[in-house]
């Protein structure tokens, strides 16, 4: 076994070890911490698989923001007590184990029996890159060749935030999500929350901008911006905005709205829904992405903040 192969096996073993910890450990808080570590480390596998765009997304959304979301819920549900009454019996456990092993074995068999040579769409994606003027094939697929998926994904984000907000109690309807955080204004946390966001905003915009030609893009940049916003909120430097605000709702629909308008424009003037005119393809895509990074940052931040809890005073 070569040294590279040994390393790959070791990396897979570490990640799987964290996965086992996440499932097997008794305490929910420990499981959540394990899952955050898992999500951040999976980014290493994605880099090894040469899928840097996905590595960025997994590190930002899968590990960072997703983990913090689960962590917040774990901290709040701490005093919920054990739910031993619902624990399944031995028969269910054994059946579940058999089912899981069979599923994993079937997938493993499929991985081992994949056709050779592997089918690929990479040459086509590269050959048609001139249609948009962007050099990153993943951005091309996301924003041009499969733009419909990306637009609907934005709609899913929007539906999720509507769903979360609709869970607000009557007296907090349209109010501020989450608790109001307070911290010592001269403390370490506030110091970090003042120092880090400017750096984070620059990095977020850089990741977004470089996405045209190198790995990166609006999701990854938006996730970084959202985490910086939440950092300022956690340090008590700012409050979550009341969800009834008009400007907030405008930002939330700006991304998918502009995407839809451009798509309908393609139907009206061009060949099909979401067909960009070749001369304006790059400016149009950039325009949509600028609107999208704002929408994504606001939506991800508000999804983490949760349902409104405090009414507007």
């Amino acid at each position: 076994m070569s040294i590279a192969a040994a390393f790959e096996v070791a990396l897979a073993a570490v990640v799987l070890g964290l996965g086992i910890w996440t499932i097997a450990v008794r305490e929910t808080y420990s499981a959540t911490v394990g899952f955050v570590a898992y999500g951040l480390l999976v980014a290493l596998i994605w880099v090894r698989l040469d899928a840097v765009d996905v590595a960025l997304t997994e590190a930002a959304i899968g590990g960072g923001l997703g983990g913090v979301l689960l962590l917040g819920a774990a901290a709040r549900l701490r005093d919920a007590g054990p739910t031993a009454a619902e624990a399944p019996g031995k028969v269910v456990r054994v059946t579940a184990a058999i089912l899981s092993v069979l599923t994993a074995a079937a997938l493993a068999g499929a991985v081992l029996l994949l056709p050779d040579p592997a089918p690929t769409l990479a040459p086509k994606a590269v050959a048609n890159a001139s249609a948009t003027g962007l050099a990153n094939p993943v951005t091309n697929v996301l924003m041009a060749f499969r733009a419909m998926d990306t637009m609907l994904e934005k709609v899913v984000l929007l539906l999720a935030i509507i769903g979360v907000w609709s869970l607000a109690p009557d007296d907090a309807w349209g109010g501020h999500p989450g608790p109001r955080h307070q911290a010592d204004p001269l403390g370490v946390l506030v110091f970090l929350a003042r120092l880090l966001p400017p750096i984070g905003i620059v990095v977020g915009i850089y990741i977004f901008w470089t996405g045209a030609n190198h790995p990166g893009g609006a999701f990854q940049g938006g996730a970084i911006l959202a985490s910086m916003w939440l950092l300022a909120i956690m340090a008590g430097l700012t409050d979550t905005p009341p969800v009834g605000r008009r400007w907030l709702r405008f930002i939330l629909v700006a991304g998918p709205g502009l995407f839809l308008v451009v798509g309908l424009g393609g139907l009206w003037f061009g060949a099909a829904f979401l067909a960009y005119p070749p001369a304006q393809a790059k400016p149009l895509i950039l325009g949509i992405e600028v609107a999208m990074i704002l929408t994504i940052a606001a939506t991800l931040g508000l999804l983490l903040a949760g349902a409104p809890e405090r009414s507007v005073k």
Binding site: I3, V33, V68, G187
Partner: protein, 96 residues
């Protein structure tokens, strides 16, 4: 050179795994709060070396993202840990 760097990243990964075992075992939640911090140093070092080994220059951007998000996760660990401590009746000087 590639062999050396692969061995180095394997070694750092092993150290990271041992550190994670030690941290996740606890005994307390304050130990577990260090997990994101550990990945913010060891994981990033492994990622940077891996990017050089695999020939993926953009791995530096992933490391930059990971550095920011690991810091954010660390802060969230501390804040959520604090809120659960407050629920136990012990307040915090940082939050007063």
């Amino acid at each position: 050179m590639t062999e050396f760097l692969t061995a180095a990243v394997g070694f750092i990964l092993a150290m990271l795994a041992l550190g994670l075992v030690s941290i996740l075992r606890g005994p307390g939640d304050t130990d577990r709060m260090m997990a994101a911090q550990l990945i913010g140093t060891g994981g990033i070092a492994a990622l940077l070396l891996l990017g050089t080994v695999t020939g993926v220059p953009a791995a530096v951007d992933v490391a930059l993202t990971l550095a920011l998000l690991a810091t954010f996760a660390s802060i969230a660990f501390v804040k959520k840990g604090l809120s659960s401590l407050e629920a136990d009746g012990t307040g915090s000087t940082e939050d007063q």
